[in-house]
């Protein structure tokens, strides 16, 4: 069996603040296989940014700390607790595509220079990269992301480019290091919907052509459905449902997933749902048992005491809910 590319195993992360400890991640497990497109979807405050920072090795510790679990990339443990101390390394082979093109690019340097810097600082091959080779790599990358007139673009400043083009530059920057895993943070959210559509199409193509895996972190269910093969739904630091895109969107099982999908306005009409009652819990004193139970219309007494782990509904479709136990 081929090892998965990325494995987040039962990750528990806490943050120390003035009022106490925020128990943010409560046992998050994610797997990304080679060539897979995985979506991590959740609303603000669900812990997806913390998960992302843990994977990329940029979790600020202190005030953060891992209390359990680890992250393994290409067989190598990149985040774990070693002798009571948090140990994390920035893995090579993971590239990050930031959310907002305006803040992802330095406004005072030309775009070509910035891409060149990425190449220079991330050389994995032992070959000395000459100026000519670097230039070729940049042009290559720009062509891959379908930037018109790559030579001219390399000489422009970010502010001279439109939002869509800036986003393409960021994707190119992520590709030049030949990563195995791309982490896309809210792809296209800062862009107009027609441009977002173009960018999502581009990402889809690139995953096939360049043989990379992609982990999409977003709150936009439509984006995740367009781009991902497999989806993890996150709530209050837990994965509440995971499955293939088709399974999850056609047959959502967890009450939170259902509530979320019901809240999305449909172009076929039908009015807007009432939403999910209540609000996200505090991480200082998270609810006992299932963290979603205070907001759940189907909560049973068991839900208040015991934490539901992921129960299998069908192959590769699991939900962390006692309603799904024994399906």
């Amino acid at each position: 069996m081929i090892l998965p590319l990325l494995e987040v195993k039962d990750l528990h992360v806490e943050f120390k603040i003035y009022e106490g400890e925020l128990k943010v991640l409560n046992g998050v497990s994610i797997t990304v296989k080679h060539g897979e497109k995985v979506g991590l979807v959740g609303e603000t405050g669900c812990g997806k940014s913390v998960t992302m920072q843990s994977i990329m090795g940029i979790l600020p510790c202190p005030p953060g700390k891992i209390t359990k679990g680890n992250v393994v990339f290409k067989g190598q443990t990149i985040l774990s607790i070693v002798e009571n101390e948090f140990k994390g390394i920035k893995a090579t082979g993971i590239s990050y595509i930031p959310q907002d093109p305006m803040s992802g690019l330095n406004p005072v340097f030309k775009v070509g220079t910035q891409v060149k810097d990425v190449i220079k600082f991330n050389r994995r091959d032992s070959e000395r990269a000459t100026g000519k080779r670097i230039h070729e790599t940049i042009m290559d990358a720009f062509k891959k992301v379908k930037l018109p007139d790559p030579e001219r673009i390399a000489q422009t400043y970010p502010v001279q480019l439109s939002g869509g083009m800036q986003q393409r530059v960021l994707i190119a920057m992520a590709l030049v290091t030949n990563p195995e895993l791309l982490i896309a943070d809210e792809p296209g959210t800062a862009l107009d919907v027609s441009i977002q559509d173009q960018i999502l199409g581009l990402l889809n193509e690139l995953v096939l052509k360049e043989n990379v895996s992609i982990l999409i972190i977003t709150h936009n269910l439509g984006v995740v459905r367009t781009l991902a093969d497999k989806v993890y739904v996150m709530y209050a630091g837990n994965i509440v449902e995971e499955g293939s895109t088709t399974d999850l969107f056609e047959d959502p099982r967890h009450p939170y997933t259902r509530g979320l999908l019901a809240s999305v306005p449909k172009i076929t009409g039908g009015g807007v749902a009432e939403g999910i009652r209540g609000r996200i819990p505090s991480y200082l004193n998270p609810p006992e048992g299932c963290r979603f139970h205070p907001r759940c219309d189907h909560a049973m007494s068991q839900c208040e005491k015991e934490r539901p782990f992921l129960f299998e509904i069908e192959e590769d479709h699991k939900a962390a809910c006692f309603l799904c136990k024994g399906d």
């Binding site: 003035y18 603000t44 405050g45 609000r279 996200i280 505090s282 991480y283 200082l284």
Partner: protein
């Protein structure tokens, strides 16, 4: 993520928590509190309060630091420690007075100029500010003090002239950046009145910045005051201004070092104390503009 509570009191508590985590900030606070206490209770704390005015005791001239005179005596037999304690009084008075003149003036002008950004009002106020800013504060203060009769009051006037533009500019920058925020535009359109907008909507956003800058400035204003005294334009002898003491004592270096070093350390302590406190406030309040 919404925090569970945030009334004014809780914000203060959280701010204090942040502030108290820095040892530097706490040291600054302690130094400032110590100086303020000494200054306020000077007549009670100073061992020889009568040495502050005209006093001569040639039998006790130039005594080095000892038990009766912990910081020694000066060239006419006055206790250096007592004079420094009273010197703190002058310094703090100077600082407080200057800042109480300068902060309101600069703030009001900055608010008006920022609100009317890109109109003739803005141009007049800010170009005037720029003119004053183009002269180094010490030079400007010196020039004005030299015209007026040298005393503490006129030193304060002189420094005020040099200091107000900094506040005007700082408040101008905050006001003009908030000018087009939706809640200001809305207040405008519903006719909330300019006074209300400037003082009740914009000014509260400036409070942290003002507090930080004022604290940091105390030290510097006192330093400028000491500099003026040093060249003879501020506190006049025999009054115990820290700068005056410095000026009168330099000729006795290096043998009678205590007559100069202790007043110098006193000035240093004030400046450093307020600096550390100001830095701590800046970090605790999250101010970026200062």
């Amino acid at each position: 993520m919404a925090r569970e509570v945030s009334t004014g009191l809780e914000s203060v508590q959280r701010g204090w928590y942040k502030f108290s985590r820095s040892k530097m900030s706490i040291s600054g606070l302690c130094v400032v509190l110590a100086i303020v206490t000494l200054a306020v209770f000077a007549p009670l704390v100073a061992p020889y309060p009568e040495h502050v005015g005209t006093f001569l005791d040639f039998s006790a001239v130039f005594r080095p630091p000892s038990f009766e005179h912990p910081l020694g005596t000066d060239y006419v037999g006055r206790d250096v420690l007592s004079r420094i304690i009273f010197g703190y009084r002058f310094s703090l008075t100077l600082g407080l007075t200057v800042l109480s003149l300068v902060v309101p003036t600069g703030t009001i002008l900055g608010l008006i100029a920022g609100y009317y950004k890109d109109t003739w009002i803005d141009t007049i106020i800010m170009r005037t500010t720029d003119t004053f800013l183009s002269l180094p504060p010490l030079v400007l203060a010196l020039a004005i003090a030299a015209i007026l009769t040298p005393n503490l009051f006129n030193a304060m006037v002189a420094i005020s002239f040099a200091w107000w533009p900094w506040y005007c500019r700082m408040i101008y920058s905050i006001t003009s950046s908030l000018r087009n925020e939706p809640y200001i535009l809305l207040a405008d359109v519903i006719g909330a009145g300019k006074i209300h907008i400037l003082f009740k909507e914009v000014l509260p956003n400036c409070v942290s910045t003002l507090l930080t800058k004022t604290t940091l400035d105390m030290g510097f204003v006192i330093l400028i005051g000491a500099s003026l005294s040093f060249v003879g334009l501020g506190v006049q002898a025999p009054k115990p201004g820290l700068g005056t003491m410095l000026a009168n004592g330099t000729q006795y270096l290096p043998e009678k070092w205590w007559v100069v070093i202790f007043p110098a350390l006193a000035i240093l302590s004030v400046v450093v104390g307020f600096n550390l406190l100001g830095d701590g406030l800046r970090d605790a309040l999250g101010v970026e503009e200062v």
